[in-house]
Amino acid sequence: MLVKQISVFVENAKGRLAEITGVLADSRVNIYALSIADTTQFGILRIIVEDPDAAQNALKEAGFTVSITDVLSLEIDDRPGGLARALKTLSENEIDVEYAYAYISHTIDKARVVVRVEDIAKASEILKAAGFSA
């Protein structure tokens, strides 16, 4: 399934992450998944939240550089090889994964990952055909 991902530019300064999550807390936005990639100087925080529009507005107002994009949220089996099987399917169909990170799952025996690919519609179709609930 498609979910909206929020990306925020974060420079490596003391308390930046606390500030961002504080803004989300103040606007009562719940975070489902989070990933941060960084160099020594700056990073990009990517989050999946309950209310993406509210999150984007709140962060923009607080002066952050924010973008919103569609990513794939994929359900996999919560056992060894669960993620590998999904990624293999994508790889065999020549779909490159730019990045991926784990997502909260409320179903026992199931896990969720967020996967960023160029062509979401195509990836989604392929995964569905392979029996995934994507």
Binding site: F9, F42, F64
Partner: protein, 440 residues
């Protein structure tokens, strides 16, 4: 967009060259006699080169007189170079002394009258009329900028709002409610006010600003363009310094092809800053001014430390007064980085052409193992770059590459969030030089 050509003192501003020279000579002869009699420092200086008021015959004789420097003023702090007793002063201003004592300047009643005429002249040349509602967002106080523009704008009959600097939301409220049509501010503060306005959900259509008389810090053509776009206004620059009254020495007309110098009140020269030799029209060097009308604090051949060129060719506006090229390069501002001369204006010109970053930036100089390090801090505003990490790195590389092309030295480029560089209501703190403060 360009306001129509107007004059405040048309006869003086369009005087033929020979008449300008005649007037200058008459005033200069009087000035030489005046300072010879009243200021011991100048008597000594003139005596040292064998010059007396009687011997002074032509404008060329001016070249015989030694230069006066900022150090000379400092050495005679506070009133040593004044030509009138303090009882005759009606106003004192001072320039910010970053090191030690400030430079104190004084004005007689006559001086204030001349000064306000000079500022009125530049305001009208820039397009201001008696119908304008002018909001002065310079800090009032010892600084000459705010009161200088205040008196000059009042003199032309404009409505002056002495808002001073800071309290930006209130500034914007006044602008909107009172229908301000002209703002006086530093370029960096005008930029900051536009950011705050945008945050408050306001656009330039919510305001009636048509003119910006910006000054007191450098403004590259790129920055000017951003400001005109942000406010929908026509921006002009003017030139002055407290030693020479303050604003009013020179100002741009609506054609913006250099600043017209009020040559009936100042004689400009350009010299080689190293050798002190006079340079010709069109050659770049340090500006030197001799004041012709100042009563309290006259200056002979004062070295400004500002680099510019002079142009005596006629201007499309009809003014005959010489034009000086815009001063982006104050000699004091020149940075020496890894042995290379760098002007902050060069860095600004590069940064403002890059769309993905905000016009706010900071230059930080440090030294590591006795080697200079140049760091340029910029704010990322383009959120589409967040899709891929590589795009942010590409931006960083792009800024670095462009700086290298212009400066010839390598800079570390630091990407920051918007608003992380400090905004000020006065002159922006664009340069942080920490060299020599930290070891290794």
């Amino acid at each position: 967009m360009r306001p129509e050509v107007r004059f405040y003192q048309k006869e003086l501003e369009t005087m033929p060259r020979d008449q300008i020279r005649e007037l200058q000579l008459t005033k200069l002869k009087k000035l030489i006699a005046y300072v010879y009699e009243r200021v011991p420092f100048y008597k000594e200086r003139l005596d040292s080169v064998g010059m007396t008021p009687e011997k002074f015959k032509s404008l060329d004789d001016l070249k015989e007189i030694p230069y006066t420097t900022k150090e000379d003023i400092r050495d005679h702090y506070p009133f040593g170079l004044f030509a009138v007793p303090t009882g005759d002063l009606v106003r004192i201003h001072a320039s910010s002394g970053t090191t030690g004592k400030p430079t104190v300047v004084g004005y007689t009643k006559g001086d204030l009258d001349t000064w306000s005429d000079l500022v009125a002249r530049l305001a009208v040349a820039a397009g201001a009329t008696e119908q304008d509602i002018a909001q002065i967002c310079f800090g009032y106080g010892l600084f000459t900028g705010a009161l200088g523009l205040h008196y000059g704008l009042e003199k032309i009959g404009a409505t002056v709002i002495p808002a001073s600097s800071g309290n930006t939301e209130k500034q914007l409220m006044l602008m909107q409610d009172l229908g301000t049509s002209l703002i006086v501010a530093t370029p960096s503060y005008a930029l900051y006010m536009s950011e705050v306005a945008r945050d408050l959900g306001k656009t330039k259509d919510d305001f009636k600003i048509r003119l910006g008389l910006l000054g007191s810090e450098g403004c590259t053509p790129e920055m000017r363009e951003k400001l005109e776009e942000a406010w929908g206004m026509f921006v002009t620059d003017n030139y002055g310094m407290s030693e020479l009254f303050g604003p009013g020495v020179a100002g741009e007309c609506v054609f913006r092809c250099g600043h017209h110098i009020a040559e009936d009140h100042y004689i400009p020269e350009v010299i080689d800053p190293k050798t002190g030799e006079s340079l010709n029209e069109g050659e770049k060097g340090e500006l030197v001014f001799t004041t012709l009308s100042k009563e309290a604090f006259p200056l002979l051949r004062y070295r400004t430390r500002d680099l510019s060129t002079l142009d005596y060719s006629p201007c499309a506006c009809g003014r005959t007064m010489a034009r000086m090229a815009k001063v982006n390069d104050r000699a004091d501002n020149m940075l020496k980085i890894k042995g290379v001369n760098v002007f902050p204006s060069q860095i600004e010109s590069v940064l403002l052409t890059i769309e993905q970053i905000s016009p706010n930036y900071q230059i930080v100089l440090t030294s590591k193992n006795y080697m200079d390090q140049l760091e340029v801090r910029v704010e990322v505003i383009d959120s589409t770059l967040l899709e891929r990490f590589a795009e942010l790195e590409a931006l960083q590389q792009n800024v670095r590459h462009k700086l290298h092309t212009v400066l010839g030295i390598d800079a570390k480029v630091t990407l920051l969030s918007p608003r992380s560089i400090e905004r000020t209501a006065g002159k922006a703190k664009r340069i942080v030089d920490q060299r020599g403060k930290n070891t290794i």
